[in-house]
């Protein structure tokens, strides 16, 4: 276990380092950030002064070293617009995105997993096919459209829910559903496939032969054995949710990190955008690491066999 943990931790650190390197070079190679920061009327002298004050006139490798040093100190720089540390801005918006992601995950998990199990157990029946159609539709639904449709139906035509903004729990319903639908489809598919895999195994047949009912079979045997792929997907889906939040938060004017990203792009507050993207990458790497640990606990073959 110790060796597996160490190796996996090493991989996570390499990925983290790689992400920071990638983001640094993507910025520097695709453009000069100075132009994002100076007003459009700036003269060449203004641009040079800004570049010097940002340290962008130094050699690339020196800048890279300074960037990594800042990252190691968790220093994401200061917002050019608000003149506040980026990390403070992110911290003030993070709770909203966490609420939204949590709501979406609830929707995705508690609709998706039962749906997937149902589709597997009742495979070939009409209702299972109908559910499959539903899942495929949810998967192809652009979140910005489902969001707008929901606003239209539930907020404009019937004033049941508030159309946008943050407030009580009612504000959270529509964004959570819009964001959760896509993940719901993924959960349903993965749950279906892994339950189908289990259904073809010998122990299921012998349990059936002993007269175990389908409900008991699902609860006592299938769900436990089919949970590993669902765990791994949950980790990946959380990072998808964080990315999907950019659009959903824009649709519903939900003041989380996604809306912050879009606002910062519009106001050319580049370090804030960079901070959010780095945070998203950190979270993704962390979740994948946690998922790997979790299933090495559930399934000892993973840490002993050495296959990754």
């Amino acid at each position: 276990m110790g060796r597996y943990l160490a190796r996996r931790l090493g991989q996570a650190l390499v990925a983290l380092f790689g992400v920071m390197t990638l983001i640094f070079f993507v910025q520097r190679l695709t453009g000069d950030p100075t132009y994002l920061l100076v007003p459009e009327t700036a003269t060449q002298a203004d641009i040079e002064a800004m570049r010097a004050s940002l340290g962008l006139d130094r050699p690339l490798l020196v800048q890279y070293g300074a960037f990594l040093a800042d990252m190691a100190r968790l220093d994401f720089g200061r917002s050019y617009i608000q003149n506040v540390p980026v990390i403070d801005i992110i911290a003030s918006r993070l709770p909203y995105t966490l609420q939204l992601a949590g709501g979406a995950l609830l929707v995705a998990f508690f609709i998706g997993v039962p749906l997937g199990v149902w589709m597997a157990v009742r495979r070939g029946h009409a209702e299972a096919k109908g559910f499959m159609g539903l899942v495929l539709a949810a998967q192809s639904m652009p979140t910005f459209w489902s969001g707008i449709l929901m606003i239209m139906v539930f907020a404009v035509w019937n004033q049941w829910l508030p159309p946008s903004g943050a407030g009580g729990w009612k504000n959270l319903i529509m964004p959570s559903v819009a964001l959760g639908l896509l993940s719901m489809a993924t959960f349903a598919r993965v749950a279906r496939t892994s339950v189908l895999d289990e259904l073809s195994k010998d122990y299921v047949r012998s349990a059936r032969a002993r007269g175990v009912t389908t409900g008991r079979l699902v609860r006592r045997h299938l769900l436990r054995n089919a949970s590993i792929p669902v765990i791994s997907i949950a980790a990946m889906e959380v990072s998808q949710l964080l990315a999907g939040a950019v659009i959903v938060e824009t649709v519903f004017a939900w003041p989380g990190l996604g809306l912050l990203t879009v606002q910062s792009i519009v106001s050319r507050d580049f370090l804030v955008v960079q901070g959010v993207v780095l945070l998203g990458a950190f979270v993704t790497i962390l979740l994948n690491f946690a998922a790997d640990l979790l299933y090495s606990l559930v399934d000892p073959r993973i840490r002993l066999g050495g296959t990754s």
């Binding site: 991989q11 390499v14 990925a15 790689g18 992400v19 390197t21 990638l22 983001i23 993507v26 910025q27 695709t30 453009g31 950030p33 994002l36 495929l136 539709a137 998967q139 192809s140 639904m141 652009p142 910005f144 459209w145 707008i148 449709l149 606003i151 239209m152 404009v156 159309p163 990072s239 998808q240 964080l242 990315a243 999907g244 950019v246 659009i247 824009t250 649709v251 990203t261 879009v262 792009i265 519009v266 580049f270 955008v273 960079q274 959010v276 993207v277 998203g280 990458a281 993704t284 790497i285 994948n288």
Partner: protein
Amino acid sequence: MSAAAQGLRERLTGRRRGPGSRAVLPFLAIFAAFVLIALLAPLIAPNDPNSQNLMGRLKAPGVTARNITYWLGSDELGRDLVSRLIWGARISLSVAVLSVALSGVVGTVLGMAAATARGWVETVIMRLVDVFLSIPAVLLAIITVAVLGPGFTNVVIVLALTRWPRYARVAYGQTLSVANMPYVRLARFMGASMPRILFIHILPNIIGAITVVATLEFGLMVLFEAGLSFLGLGVQPPTASWGAMLSVGRNYVGSAWWISAFPGLCLFLLVLSVNLIGDHLRDRLDPKSR
């Protein structure tokens, strides 16, 4: 179809008609219709998609104003939605085709190179793939567009840049499984050059898996383009893009539902049909996933 005819058909086409293979036909038709609409946009669009008509603003579907009948309504500048939807199909499909082609070629070549070269080339390429895949693609696309600036070409470049690792990973795995087969080793013994082995002997055997990835990515690229345009980071106005139309429509949900309803419906139908075709292809070409 009789059993004999079915058998003959199987022998001729070399494959069995699986259950549900007929169910994909309507979606193939929908996809083909979108492609045709995109190709023929200048011929079939009833009006200029960018011509404004301030007397015809926010007209409901079917209303006629100034001798123009707005079959699907008009937008906030009095532009004909039918025509904008038709031209929007062009943007959606061309961005998707170009970005899938670009990321597919780059990813496949790099993945194959990593699997055959081994050593440090393999390490560098596959670590890079890991790194790219650990950043949520939407965020990577957004940060790159933010630096690069919006616009058609940049969107294609950004999408290709963020999506090539998917192909690289598949090409890598597939190539590894083929590269040690006797016929490939034999080709190497007989002095075939590396490019020849890669493109004549290995590529035809892995192209099926790549095609499946490409089809499933295609729908994603359509959604990404629409998403970027929705955020104002994609194709710039006045060019018609479904995503940008939706973002305008969001401001008129109360008064003009049609501005957001129809572009959304088009996106949904296009992506749904592509995804179903992709699923179908995967079942056909990759029996393991069934």
